[in-house]
């Protein structure tokens, strides 16, 4: 059951610090939005979201980020950039969504929408380990980890026969360098030099 809480607005309940972080990460200002709703009108994923994109920005304007990350809207964004493209005010909503996902991950860990997160995380692990994506492995591990052993099972043999899933992969000579990039970013975050 989803009960709508009354919004108590005060300087204390409006977490502007969080909004500043979103703005820094996304490089865009939420205050520019005047709520025309054009983003929501064109969003291919809006029907899956409980907060349509314009409302995500509205909640940010009010500093009510918990309401956003408690829900699934940000995890249903397809990053298609339609919203950013058509916004009359140059609000780069797709980047705001990126920032919110990052901050949600940092603040809350896995959410109930963790399928997407899991896929993303596996994808990044893959890069760190192999340097490139290996779809076969990615799909297999995802299915195991998400408990959907049989998902897309029908596709596998067909793809293998067409040479579309490779069982083996080459080692990338830049692996050390890649790992360093990951480590340096982690290091910067530990020191508070980056969000």
């Amino acid at each position: 059951m989803h009960k709508k809480k009354k919004m108590i607005i005060s300087q204390e309940t409006m977490d502007i610090q969080f909004v500043r972080k979103v703005e820094a990460l996304s490089g865009t200002s939420v205050r520019r939005c005047f709520q025309c709703g054009k983003c929501s009108a064109g969003c291919p994923m809006a029907t899956f979201m409980e907060h349509p994109p314009n409302r995500v920005v509205r909640l940010l304007q009010l500093g009510q980020w918990r309401r956003i990350i408690e829900g699934r809207s940000i995890w249903y964004c397809a990053s298609c950039e339609t919203c950013s493209t058509r916004c009359p005010n140059k609000v780069h909503l797709a980047s705001i969504m990126d920032a919110l996902r990052k901050l949600s991950w940092d603040a809350e860990g896995p959410s109930k929408e963790s399928y997407v997160q899991l896929a993303n995380k596996l994808f990044l692990d893959n890069i760190r380990t192999y340097g490139r994506q290996y779809e076969m492995r990615l799909a297999a591990v995802f299915n195991v980890k998400s408990g959907q052993f049989l998902k897309d099972m029908m596709l596998g043999p067909k793809l293998l026969s067409k040479g579309k899933l490779k069982m083996f992969h080459q080692k990338n000579k830049n692996m050390v360098e890649i790992d360093k990039i990951f480590s340096r970013i982690e290091e910067m975050r530990r020191k508070g030099e980056a969000l």
Binding site: C36, A41, C43, P52, R55, R86, P88, K90
Partner: protein, 665 residues
């Protein structure tokens, strides 16, 4: 040697309570150049002024310093008094020892010392003051009005009715402007033609108005009271004096299928045409681009059938010079179009709405022509693509306006009202149809405006949806509108028969080049700038030029007419005197030192600086220098601060005067 008189005012006790005025007078009396110093209870009173006048005459004073309240209070009073005693008013200065001294300090010792210094500074300053004669400029009591839309027509009629000659210049073959294109007007829904046409006829019949249609302002010279306007009268190919307006030529013209711009290209017209039946003047013009005679040299039908022999293929552009004393600019607006714009343009089109390629996506003006009884469909709302009556019609507001990503961030002000009007007109004509409006806010302040908007919703049942539209696309013979309703928080999809876009009001293309000819300023959109947003809303910063209507910013008909009448009143105020008098605080160029770098010209906000050639008696050019037109100079002195060699000087605030004050410290 100067003989300065210093008069220290007590201002009742306002000054003397904290400032020892006697001591001030005594100390100042010993300063070099001071011949007379005294104090008095109320300097601004009649006896006080009498004291001043008497001292000027008896003591043969050459300069005056009155130490009293702020010059903003009584500088004029004392200067007038000095003048009546035979002294040039600009030899009188005020030392402010009230607002800047006695009222803001409590310590008598400190305040008195400060007062002495303030008066001392003014004594040093006044020594360097020069006699400044009042500047008078003659006034030519004729006015130019640029633009023959409702703004220009109103201003021209008002000025002409006051008895002054008016020259009205209109770019198109007929006056009338955008208002002549409208069907019915909000908030009363009276027919635009019915209220507009009589005014147009008044213009052409007015003995004081000289009308130039199909003409443009080519060049402007001069300044307030004394402009010389060069007007280019474009070749009409029809002699206005001979033409009787019978219309036979238009009937016989073999080229018939030229889209008529007046009807937003919905209707067709011949190559020799008047833009609309009620055109003023009712004289046709030949569209040389499409006329067979001009393209191939053959045809010539119109000339053959014209009884009075008015058709003249040889006609050329003519240049006419008109002297005027004031200019009203009323050039109106263009409507934004969603078509694709050239790369790098600051204004962008709407690809998401099809870049204007979907035939049944039209703009508000096109809808006006459809709804107009004299329009191409005779007042029936029909789709341009197939002539069907649209049963589902979608209106989208704020197209172009309030979209900084498209290059325009302002609100166009009129669209909320005209869209509400459109929904009503639609409902009146298509009883079984439904109108939908996508909007953000309804901006409907104004007398009877909100009521009008509510009527559209409550009585005419237009469905207003708060939210914008992301995309429009053709699907079969429908247009799919992908919108959202942010109040509900859902996406909305409507399969519409026709979509009407409330596109932005933009300045005219070429507004900037006209502004440069006139020497007036404009904002970055190219709307003309008024001198002060609140207190001088119809005047340009350039003296003698006034603004009316949408060339200054988006506005509706009532506001436009008010501003036009206000501009006319300003012109009449100017014409009420034979000569213009102005304070002689203006900049002057010292030609000997001027090296013509024209930094003064670059910074002058008034465009008062001109380039002047100095020639010897044989007419050989010796040098070029700057010249400040005293009629135009506003007296800010930015030129002097910028001039590297200080060869331009602002009277009343010369370097000598200022340095004298600094050195007095």
């Amino acid at each position: 040697m100067s003989r300065i008189g210093v008069f220290v005012c007590h201002c009742g006790e306002n000054i003397s309570r904290t400032v020892d005025v006697e001591r001030v007078a005594a100390e100042v009396g010993t300063m070099p150049g001071v011949a007379f110093a005294t104090d008095y209870k109320y300097m601004c009173s009649d006896p006080g002024q009498g004291l001043l006048k008497k001292a000027i005459q008896e003591q043969k004073l050459s300069h005056i310093v009155v130490a009293a309240c702020s010059p903003r209070m009584h500088e004029k009073t004392f200067r007038k008094a000095a003048e009546s005693a035979g002294l040039n008013p600009f030899l009188c200065e005020i030392a402010n020892i009230r607002e800047h001294c006695s009222w803001v300090h409590e310590n008598r010792e400190e305040a008195t010392a400060k007062a002495v210094e303030i008066v001392g500074m003014m004594v040093e300053r006044v020594k360097k003051n020069r006699v400044l004669p009042t500047i008078t400029v003659p006034v030519t009591k004729r006015s130019l009005v640029i633009g023959g839309g409702i703004a220009g027509i109103q201003a021209a009629l008002d000025i002409a009715d006051a008895g002054h000659d008016v020259v009205l210049v209109e770019r198109e073959p007929s006056i009338g402007g955008h208002m002549a294109q409208l069907s019915e007007t909000f908030p009363t829904l009276d027919c635009s033609q019915c209220i507009m046409t009589p005014k147009m006829v008044d213009v052409v019949n007015h003995p004081k108005i000289k009308l130039y249609t199909y003409a443009e302002v080519e060049h402007v010279e001069g300044y307030i009271g004394n402009f010389q306007i060069t007007i280019r009268k474009k070749a009409r190919s029809v002699d206005e004096d001979k033409c009787t307006g019978c219309g036979l030529c238009m009937e016989k013209c073999p080229v018939r299928k030229i889209p008529n711009q007046f009807d937003c290209n919905l209707g067709l017209r011949p190559a020799i045409y008047v833009p609309f039946p009620q055109a003023v003047p009712n004289t046709p013009v030949i569209d040389r681009e499409h006329c067979i005679k001009f393209k191939t040299g053959k045809c010539g039908l119109c000339q053959k059938i014209c009884g009075p022999g008015a058709v003249d293929y040889e006609q050329e552009d003519t240049l006419i010079i008109e002297p005027v004393g004031a200019i009203v600019v009323a050039t109106g607006f263009d409507l934004y179009s969603i078509t694709e714009k050239p790369k790098g343009s600051s204004i962008k089109g709407y690809g998401e709405f099809g870049h204007g390629k979907i035939p049944d996506v039209i703009d508000g003006m096109t809808f006006e022509r459809l709804a107009s009884a004299s329009g191409p469909t005779g007042g029936k709302i029909l789709r341009p693509s197939d002539g069907q009556e649209p049963k589902q019609i979608v209106f989208i507001q704020c197209v172009g306006s309030r979209a900084r990503e498209k290059g325009i961030s302002y609100c166009s002000k009129i669209c909320c009202m005209y869209t509400a009007k459109h929904t009503m007109l639609y409902k009146h004509k298509v009883h079984d149809g439904q109108a939908y409006v996508f909007f953000m806010d309804a901006r409907v302040p104004g007398k009877s405006y909100d009521e009008f908007w509510r009527r559209a919703i409550e009585d005419e049942e237009a469905v207003y949806i708060r939210g914008m539209v992301s995309r429009l696309y053709q699907k079969g013979n429908k247009i799919v509108v992908m919108g959202s309703d942010i109040s509900v928080g859902v996406q909305v999809e409507i399969e519409a028969d026709m979509v009407v876009l409330a596109t932005a009001v933009q300045p005219r293309t070429g507004a900037d080049s006209l502004a440069q000819k006139l020497g007036i300023s404009y904002d970055h959109y190219h709307f003309y700038s008024e001198a002060h947003a609140k207190l001088r809303p119809v005047e340009c910063a350039t003296a003698g030029i006034y603004l009316a209507g949408t060339c200054q910013g988006p506005k509706d008909i009532p506001d436009t007419v008010s501003q036009a009448s206000a501009a006319a009143a300003k012109v009449m105020t100017l014409f009420a005197k034979d000569k213009l008098e102005r304070e002689p605080i203006v900049a002057k160029v010292k030609e000997a030192g001027c090296v013509a770098c024209f930094y003064c010209k670059k910074v002058c906000p008034y465009g008062a600086v001109e380039e002047k050639e100095i020639r010897d008696r044989q007419g050989n050019l010796i040098k070029v220098v700057a010249y400040v037109n005293p009629g135009v100079c506003g007296g800010c002195g930015t030129c002097q601060a910028t001039c590297p060699s200080k060869s331009v000087e602002l009277d009343g605030y010369t370097d000598e005067q200022i340095v004298a004050m600094i050195e007095a410290l």
